[in-house]
Symmetry: C2
Amino acid sequence: MLKLSKKTEYAFMAARYLALNNSGHCSTAKEIAENYDISRELVAKVLQNFARSDIAASFQGVKGGYVLKKNPEEVSLFDIILSVEDKHHLTNCLSEDNPDEKCSHEDGCKIRDPLIEIQKRIDNLFLETSLKQIL
Amino acid sequence: MLKLSKKTEYAFMAARYLALNNSGHCSTAKEIAENYDISRELVAKVLQNFARSDIAASFQGVKGGYVLKKNPEEVSLFDIILSVEDKHHLTNCLSEDNPDEKCSHEDGCKIRDPLIEIQKRIDNLFLETSLKQIL
DNA sequence: TTGATATAAGACTAATTTAATCTTATTTAT
DNA sequence: ATAAATAAGATTAAATTAGTCTTATATCAA
């Protein structure tokens, strides 16, 4: 596997849409969902996440919606993933709720450290790629 | 997410075990499973995959088991992942059974190309890391 | 002030994927 | 012959992910 979730895919798409339509105009979840033919509710959740993590500003009510809060070159794909995904770790024993040496296979499994290194380098790939680069 | 499957974790562990115990000695699935306290059947499947993809040689019958067929520095983590995992793609539209331009979001989603690039670079990280490096 | 259209957020259900187990067959050393 | 191993596929169970539904709140405009 090692697959991005649909939520992350939708997040990339929604962020891209916001970036391309940021001329003072407020984009709604409905608008984006219809544009890509995906679930309105899922897009809405993605956008709510964006608002929470300060990627986008939200406006409620009629004429409400979302606008990007940063320049596309200032938003990394990593920011977007983090905004939308709670777990983003290669293995369970690499996650923060499982700090330090804790591995379900006791000290039998010694693959943790090299994987931490690879994890960092993968994160960096997404960190180095900005939203601007996918427009 | 973007998580390795347990199968892949087990594969790394099993490969590591084989590499550390390759002094003419045949390692069995049972032995490895007990050593790491994981399911015997799952380890068996991993080892069968290793045999099919020529990472290990298998010997049947009593006194049977598996031995690494290559030097640890000649086996990459990517080889191991490929051996054990059928899908190893960042997104569904990146998989081979979905060639070329086919994306469920028609031409609406334009994130495919940059993701192909990131996919390649992730693959490279695993390709550049050899089994020897996790011993 | 009411109705229409948004976001906000959480509960719930459905679908898919992954993990684990079970079963049967075959091989081979003793 | 028997015990211990691989081989391979079927089946079940568990976990995760995707998608939907519901209720509440905000805001614009007639």
